[in-house]
Assembly symmetry: C2
Amino acid sequence: MHRETTLEEVAERAGVSRQTVSNALNAPHKLHERTLGHVREVIAELGYRPDARARGLRTNTSSLIGYCLPSDDVAGSVNAVMDQYLHALSVAIERTGRHLLLFTRATHGSELEVYRELLAAHSVDGFLLSDIRTHDPRPQWLAERAVPFVSFGRTGDEQQRGPWVDVDGAAGADQAVRHLVHGGHTRIGFLGLPAGNRVGDDRARGWLRACAAAGLGDCERMLVHCADEHHDNGDSARRALALPESPTALVAANDALALGSYAACAERGLRIGEDIAVIGFDDSPTATKVHPALTSLRQPVEHIAQRLVARLDSAEPGGELYEPELVVRASSAP
Amino acid sequence: MHRETTLEEVAERAGVSRQTVSNALNAPHKLHERTLGHVREVIAELGYRPDARARGLRTNTSSLIGYCLPSDDVAGSVNAVMDQYLHALSVAIERTGRHLLLFTRATHGSELEVYRELLAAHSVDGFLLSDIRTHDPRPQWLAERAVPFVSFGRTGDEQQRGPWVDVDGAAGADQAVRHLVHGGHTRIGFLGLPAGNRVGDDRARGWLRACAAAGLGDCERMLVHCADEHHDNGDSARRALALPESPTALVAANDALALGSYAACAERGLRIGEDIAVIGFDDSPTATKVHPALTSLRQPVEHIAQRLVARLDSAEPGGELYEPELVVRASSAP
DNA sequence: GACCTTCATGTGAACGTTCAAACCGCCAAG
DNA sequence: CTTGGCGGTTTGAACGTTCACATGAAGGTC
């Protein structure tokens, strides 16, 4: 790795002082137009970029935002579209001249210890929290230390600390139910995540609310919680289909559970999109690949990423909630 | 963001000099056991961590490795299992005391410009390249500048610059074919990526080789290239099934194409796992969720991540090739 | 006892940048 | 002719660390 150009060298070459070059970069209005133009030329000519470490040391910043990758076994609202989400996030952060620094959950010790270490080392300026759990301690902990951060998701606490952005899962499920009711369905089941999961509970709430609003009677019996989200493979759908008042439509808390119902339906000889309707959640890439294509609720991933970054910088507490969009495909046909 | 502890403060508190504390961290053998123990106590007590920027400035490092996120529309061998891969990579890098810095492809200008800027700013120590394309210019460019890097994938060039690790796609497809031949199949089609795609071509090559080795005659006619990987939705499978010598088994260049064949088969009244066998590639999370579950080739993601980091640091050119593992499920039953 | 060696610790400088303050020339006001 | 102010530029110091070297004590050899 060979030596790189420094600010001093640029200054010498341009026949000005260090500080003038520094100002050309950070406070161009302070320079005479003539000088500015000349300095910029030299900068371009030498391909100069200020050393991020030196600048960070002096200004006490790092231009890095920490992002904790979810372990494979954790399931949040983003997992299915993680790559899209991460890409959108990275683009949004780069627009502000910063980058994402990835890290993972510690395998031992406190979850917060990693956050502490990154802050103590000044490796990051702040954090972007995802996969927020019920009563997640991180927002509180960070807010107490006045660390800039923003949460994607809600803790469910009355007064959530710090800014947040979330997808209105209830509104999404509500949309799905209304679509089904419009299609003539009256027995609509719900495949939920294990109780206590904020995302799952939120979506279930919307389903229940919409069913009640549509006057579908006692729907609560049609709620099935999966035992293990990752190894369900249709088990919850099987239980739902075996209910006394067999549902003619299923809304699932995510696409994986919805796909599970494909197997369960096949076993009972039910044709999806004809004998029974299925609607998923998250609009994962597979939704279009399966047969019949899966109707699902698409999260406005890019917009959320933009809003997250905006709120990270504004730092005002409080949140924003965005509705997912129902993407109708063949699986919800009848 | 409040003031953090500095090395100087630790030194004062421990009653030693700066350098002694520095040595306690970087060269513990230089200290008397008694002193070392004491200094470490104070460090733990104050929760001290050396400032990453100051250290980096002095040692001319950043402890950051750049990783370019693939745009959603690019399809490499990892896309389907991107989250697993990224997590494994991050864990492996963290074991060496570094972190991943994410960035994205520039929307304008040269692809390499972003790499240049990150290097000029000393934002990263090196790069981890993924989604290597045929004749990808990056290995060459980085090697010329003596920048540490490692590639996940091959450029296909005779003498690929720098270290690399890859999955032996040909061997994987070979395994799939042998499995099918063992099951009695003689007409085995291949759903390929657009010609020119290294990953796709590699996998197709293995399929062809294995068919020839099994004496299945003129197989080449049973190769179908999809036009657009992301919007294929069964088109290539439809073409394959419409071939004069209709295949009794399909091997796909990735799981998405394999899933497409589910729709195509259903349209023809073919039951997968009974009338026709299907094998995918990458073992994406959906493989277990669809019905029937998809037989697929699993990449040794974690091992690859470990080897990538190891070769990044050893910097010896040349490569390592790992075989994927055939995970047999219901779709390849007959 | 003079000298060299070894080991443990301390001191000044440097990495490349930005901050705070000083400087300089110029013009307007008194 | 002095004074004050202002836009534009330069200078010294500082951010927190590690490097290279200096120092000093203890021990061994002649």
